[in-house]
C-alpha cells in the first residue's frame, strides 16, 4: 500500500499544476494589488492579507502564458514557504487531488534547466497529468534573480513554453 500525496490542483493556461496541500495557507480572490517598482514583470506586487503584506507572483507570467488579464475566477494561492507567505496568481483553483505516490514520475530532465526547474514530478490522476511544483525552487531568490535578468528571461519563457507544449 503506497502513500497518497494530497495535492491542491490549479490551472494555469491549459495545464493543471499541483502543490502539496501542506504548503498551502489559503486561497483568496484577487484583491487590489499594489505594484512594486523596479521588479520583474511576473512579480505583480503586494497585497494586504488581513494586515499582513504578502508578495504576489503571477504564475501565468512566470510560466509564459500570454493571457494575463484578471477575470472573476482568478485566484491567489497563498502558500507558506520557510515561514514566509507568498501569493501565486492562477487561472483557477480546482480541487484536492489524492495521488498515490507510485503514480508520480520524476520530472523529465529537460525540465531541470530553464524556468521550469521548480517541477518536482508529474502525477497521473485519471488520465490527466498534474505538474507538481516545488515551492522552495519556485520561490527561491536565486531563480527569481536569474529570471529578472532581461536576456535570460526571454530564453526561459521560451523554454517554459516549449515545455508546456510537450
Amino acid at each position: 500500500m503506497s502513500r497518497e500525496l494530497h495535492i491542491v490542483g490549479f490551472q494555469v493556461g491549459r495545464e493543471t499544476y499541483g502543490v502539496p496541500i501542506t504548503s498551502l495557507h489559503e486561497i483568496v480572490r484577487v484583491p487590489d494589488i499594489t505594484a512594486v517598482p523596479d521588479a520583474p514583470d511576473y512579480l505583480e506586487g503586494v497585497i494586504n492579507l488581513r494586515g499582513k503584506i504578502v508578495s504576489v507572483m503571477d504564475l501565468r507570467k512566470r510560466f509564459g502564458e500570454k493571457e494575463t488579464g484578471l477575470k472573476r475566477q482568478n485566484r491567489i494561492l497563498v502558500v507558506e514557504h520557510a515561514g514566509r507567505l507568498a501569493g501565486l496568481i492562477v487561472d483557477s483553483a480546482s480541487e484536492v487531488l489524492k495521488i498515490p505516490s507510485d503514480a508520480v514520475e520524476p520530472a523529465p530532465a529537460v525540465f531541470q534547466e530553464g524556468g521550469l526547474n521548480c517541477v518536482t514530478g508529474l502525477g497521473k490522476v485519471g488520465g490527466r497529468l498534474v505538474v507538481l511544483l516545488d515551492m522552495s525552487k519556485l520561490l527561491a531568490p536565486a531563480s527569481l534573480q536569474a529570471k529578472s535578468e532581461n536576456g535570460e528571461k526571454k530564453a526561459k519563457t521560451e523554454a517554459a513554453r516549449g515545455a508546456g507544449a510537450s
Binding site: T34, I53, S55, L139
Partner: protein, 713 residues
Amino acid sequence: MTNSPDERGAELRDLFYETSQELLQALNDEALKLEKRPGDEEIVRSVRRTVHTLKGDSAACGLRELSELAHQFEDALSMEGAAAHAAVADIAFAAADLFSEMIAAYRKGHKLPSTKKLSKRIEELTSTPAAKKSRKKKSASLNKHAADWTEYEKLAMLQAQANGQDVLHVAVKIDPHCAMPIAGRQLIQNAVASMGPVLAVRPDAKSAAASKHVEFVLASVQTPQQIIAKCKIPTIAEEVTVDLLYQATSAGAQAVPDLTSDSKEPEAGKEPGISSAAPQSESQFAASTLENILRVEASRIDSVLNLVGELIIGKSMLQQALNDFAKRYPKDLLRGKFADAMAFQARVLNDLQRSVMKIRMVPVDQLFRRFPRMVRDVARQCGREVDLALSGQETDLDKGILDAIAEPLTHLVRNAVSHGIESPEERRKLGKSPHGTVRLNAYHQGNQVVVEVSDDGRGIDVQKIRSKAIELGLMTAEDAAQLTETETLNLIFRPGFSTAEQVTEVSGRGVGMDVVQSVLQRLKASVSLETRPGQGTTFRLKLPLTLAIIKALLFWVEQRLYAIPLNAVLEIARTVETEVHQVDNYEVLQLRNQVLPVLRLGRPAGEPGRSSKLFVLVITVGERKYGLIVDALEGEEELVIKALDDHTFSTDLVSGASILGDGRVVLILNLSAVVEHVAHLRPQEMGRAGSGLLLTHTDRTRLALTPPVGGQA
C-alpha cells in the same frame, strides 16, 4: 524535577554567557580607572571582586580553563604589593580580552585560545620583590568547621548578626551519583541564597572537592529545619546539616556584649586564611536589584509592538469610518459620541505605543561604555594621547537601533582617534594641548535622537577631498570646483572613495565611511559632518526613535500611492513645467533663490498626459536637497512599517510597506536609493535622468505602446 541535569547545566551556561558580558565590561572599566590611578588599592580590590565572581560563575558552569585562569589572576591580585605593580592595569585589560575570547570559544564550541601568555604575565606579577614577602602565612585552622573564613566574611557575619539575622553554617553533601555535581552545586547555592544572603562559600567551585560537598555561611531568619527542607534537593543533596554559628542579636542591650565577645572569638581562634574568596556582597546586591528586572526575549516585545501597530491601523480604519459617517449624517448626535470615544481610544493607544516602545528603549550608555577601552587601545596603537568625554549617556534609544549603530559608531570613534587627532608633538607645535579630546554626545531633538562624535583634531581638508575625487575620476575638475563645502565633504561617504589607502591619510577619514552611510540609511537615519580646519570634526548621526512607526507624507505617482518619511521633507511647493530647466542632461528646478536637481518619479517630461502644473516635494538626503515631482498629494499619516519580502523583491527603491485604514497597501520609498539611482546613472541614460523611477513594467509597456493616454484608472 523534570529537567535533566544536562539541561540545567546548559541553562546555567547560557545565563553565564549573558552575565559574563557585564562582568567583562566591569573589568574593563576598572582597568581603565586603574590605569589613571595606578596602585589604588580600592580599585584593585574591585578588580579582584569582579574576577572572583567570574571565577565562581565559570566554575559553576564547568568551564574549567576559564575559572583556573581567573583564579590565578585573583590570587595574584590578592598579594600585597601586587596592586602597586604598574602592569596590573595592562594585565587586567589583557585578561578581559582573553576571558572574552574564551567565553566566545566556549559558546561556539571552538578551540580555546592559549592562556599561557597571560598566565606567565600574571606569574611575573607575583614574583616581583614587593610581592614576595607578602604572601600571607597560611595557618591551619582548628575551627570545628572544615572551612576557614576570611576577615571580610567574618565582618559580614557580624553585621548580619547585628541586623537581627541568625548566622548559620550549612553543609551539604552532594550525592555521589549526581550526574552533574557542579551544576547541582549551583542549584543548592541558589536554594540557599533564596533564604537569605550567603556570606561565604567553601570549598571553591573549582576545587576537586567542589563536587563532593559544599558549605555555606548564611544569614537568615529561617529555622534550620526550614533550611534543611529547602536544600534537600533529591538526587543532588545527599545530606544537609545546619549549625547555628551566631544567634541573632535581638535585644539592643544584649547586642553590644554579644557582638564584642563574638567578634573576638573568631579572630582569636583563626588566623586569616588565604583571602582567595572575595566578598559575596556584590552579587547579593546585584541579586536584589535583579529581582525587579525581567530578562525578556526581544521577539516577545516585538510581537506586542506588532499588535500595537495593528491597532494603529485599526484606529485609522475607525477614523475613516467616522469621517464617512459624519459626511452621511452630519447632524446626527451620535457623531459627537463616536468622536469622543475615538479621541479617548486614540489617546490610550498613543500611551500604549509609547510604553511598548519604552520597553525597547535602552540608554545609549550601553553602547558608550565600551568606547573608553577602545579609545585607549587605538590611541596607544597610533601614539596619540586622547581623552574620551562622554555625555548624554542616559538618552534612550531603541535597542535595535542601538545595536545597529554600534559598528558605524565604533568606526567613527576609531577614525576620530587615529586620523582626527594629531600626534602629541604636532599638537604641541600648533599650540594645542597634547591631549586630544574625542567627545561622544547624545541628545533628543524633536522626534529624533542625535548622536555626535567629535574630535578637536586637525579637521578635514576640503581641498584634498576635491583633488582626490578628481583623481579617482568621480568628477571633472570643473564639477569639483562647483561643489559646495558640504557637498564635497559628503563625497567621503561615496563607496569606493575611501578604498584607496592614501585617501585615509590625507583626508583623515575613509575606510568604510560608505558602510557607515549604508547602515544609517537602512535605519532611515542620516549622518552629516562638520569640520573646521585645525579645530576638529563633528559627525552627527540623526536617528529615529523607533524603527517600527514613522510619520510619513503620502503622494500619488501614476495612480499609485507612495509614502516617504516626513522628516525628510523640507517643503512642498507647486510649480509649473516651465520652471524646470534642462542642465547638462539633468533637470533642475529653480525654487526661489535655490536650484534643485529634480527627480521625476512618474513618466518623463514631454510625455503626453501630464498637466503642466507640478507638485514638488523638497527633500533632503544627507546634506543635499532634491525636488521630487509627484502627481498629487494625499496627506500625512502615521505608518506602521512592515517589511517587504526582500527575498522576492530585490528592489532597493522601496524600504517597506504599510497598510492604510481602508486596507490599501502603500509603499514607503527609500529616498537615499531613489537619489542614488540618479547619481549613478550611466551616460547613455542621462537624457532622461531621474524620471520614471517608479514606473513598473506594465506602465512602461503601456506608455511605449499607447502613446497618447490621458491617464487611466
